[in-house]
């Protein structure tokens, strides 16, 4: 009888332990799932915030670039009316405009790539999310390069060509005064 009680007690303890372990495992799974949800919500929120931020930056940059382009265009018109040869500057302006358009288009592609990572952030494979994020980062690098290219083109091509026009006018008029009148 005593033996039977010992066996029964031991068995009871074992069953209780296994049951407790099962409860723990389930709780852990629930906790993990909850954590994953929090994480993916966090990532989704961050990505959404990034998209908004990048959209704002895009508008700010494009607005600024267009303002500079319009200033150069107005200057070209005014100087041409005064008799300056603005052929080179006109060509510069066309190139400058193309660079702004490329920046704008690449930025649209970048935001689209970044937005698409959101659908992989929750409920899909982590691999797909990472792959899509890597693609978005690659386009971001292109956008960054576009922005640098615009600044460089202004500083190293358009600006020197505008400043060179100052000398052009004086030289031409000096020749006219000494030669024909």
């Amino acid at each position: 009888m005593k033996k039977a009680l010992i066996i029964l007690g031991t068995t009871g303890l074992l069953v209780a332990s296994v049951a407790a372990a099962k409860v723990d495992t389930s709780a852990l799974k629930v906790q993990r799932a909850a954590n994953a949800q929090v994480k993916c919500d966090f990532i989704e929120t961050n990505v959404a915030r990034k998209v908004t931020k990048f959209e704002t930056n895009r508008n700010k940059h494009v607005t600024s670039y267009i303002k500079t382009k319009e200033r150069v265009a107005a200057l070209v018109t005014k100087l041409e009316a005064k008799g300056y040869d603005v052929t080179k500057l006109k060509a510069d302006l066309t190139e400058y405009d193309a660079k702004i358009k490329k920046f704008s288009d690449d930025h649209v592609a970048y935001v689209a790539a970044l937005t698409s990572t959101q659908e992989f952030a929750c409920g899909k494979s982590e691999g797909e999310f990472k792959s899509q994020l890597a693609a978005a980062r690659a386009v971001l690098k292109t956008v960054h390069d576009d922005s640098v290219a615009i600044r460089t083109y202004w500083a190293e091509t358009v600006k020197p060509d505008i400043l060179a026009l100052k000398a052009q006018k004086i030289t031409e008029k000096t020749k006219t005064v000494g030669g024909t009148e």
Partner: protein
């Protein structure tokens, strides 16, 4: 019979030749003087015209040069002002807005 009367002094052939040469010489001298005087007047007038034209041209040229210099310096100042404004506009945005760290794991909270 014709009386062989002596020739009067004025009727002497030599005297007549001398008078003829003297008259021709005076006429030639007068003609030369007139020609030289007339030519000189023409030259003076022509010179005056040329000088006047040259003076006008010179004056005009000077004025044009002055005006051109003024225009050029005005335009130069305007160009400088526009370049400065565009520089400021370009510097109002930064390419760093699109640098790698804007989308790295830390930025995304990964």
């Amino acid at each position: 019979m014709v009386e062989n009367t002596p020739l009067h002094k004025h009727e002497h052939p030599l005297y007549q030749w001398i008078a003829l040469f003297a008259s021709v010489a005076i006429i030639l001298a007068l003609a030369g003087w007139y020609a030289l005087t007339y030519q000189s007047t023409v030259e003076d007038d022509a010179l005056a015209t040329v000088e006047s034209a040259y003076s006008a041209t010179l004056h005009k040229g000077t004025k044009t040069t002055t005006a051109t210099t003024t225009t050029a310096s005005t335009t130069g100042a305007e160009i400088d002002a526009q370049v400065s404004a565009i520089n400021n506009e370009t510097n109002s945005v930064s390419s760093d807005d699109f640098s790698d760290n804007k989308l790295d794991n830390t930025a995304l909270g990964l």
